[in-house]
Amino acid sequence: DTAVSQTPKYLVTQMGNDKSIKCEQNLGHDTMYWYKQDSKKFLKIMFSYNNKELIINETVPNRFSPKSPDKAHLNLHINSLELGDSAVYFCASSPDRVGGEKLFFGSGTQLSVL
């Protein structure tokens, strides 16, 4: 069973479109994250939710809106997609508020904006 699963794995779309990426974890963790990995492989945190409550919101355009319907799910909605949004987006979860050795990642969603 996949611990952290995100869909879709690949997403190709036109500039200006709105798209969503879904994430689910079956580990019973309280905290979930979205990370962005750019073309140079830099991995940076975007958001963190603890029990459906937003606890970290890094400097991310407000076109990105995370939604956590319950603590097992954290979806990422992106409005008006831009070329610079092309990246791999990783969902992750951990049992506590801090990341590290108990951080489990999904396998990523590669977003390509044309």
């Binding site: 492989k41 991995l43 990783f90 508020r97 801090v98 990341g99 951080l103 990642f105 396998s107 990523g108």
Partner: protein, 118 residues
């Protein structure tokens, strides 16, 4: 703010040989943790090893070990008896400790792509 630097974008090693991946970091904190993550082609991030800054003893996990030099702010990863399955992107990461009072999220380096040659 903390920074993590991996100066080797790519490394290669012969199967069964040993390779060392470099990582340096910059921080004014005394309480922190360091990690090495592996990202194979499947893109999944997998924790390889971690080190608490207050521990002088270098962490080891089977064929993986670290050389932690706190004064030099260096945290290299040594992979012994390299296997084909070790081929991946390796990321060094930093996290503040409990006493830091900061958000304590991971700061990643830019990664080192390791190729294992048969």
């Amino acid at each position: 703010a903390q920074t993590v630097t991996q100066s080797q974008p790519e490394m290669s090693v012969q199967e069964a040989e040993t390779v060392t991946l470099s990582c340096t970091y910059d921080t004014s904190e005394s309480d922190y943790y360091l990690f090495w993550y592996k990202q194979p082609p499947s893109r999944q991030m997998i924790l390889v090893i971690r080190q608490e800054a207050y521990k002088q003893q270098n962490a080891t996990e089977n064929r993986f070990s670290v050389n932690f030099q706190k004064a030099a702010k260096s945290f290299s990863l040594k992979i012994s008896d390299s296997q084909l399955g070790d081929a991946a992107m390796y990321f060094c990461a930093y996290r503040s400790g409990p006493s830091s009072g900061s958000a304590r999220q991971l700061t990643f380096g830019s990664g080192t792509q390791l190729t294992v040659l048969p």
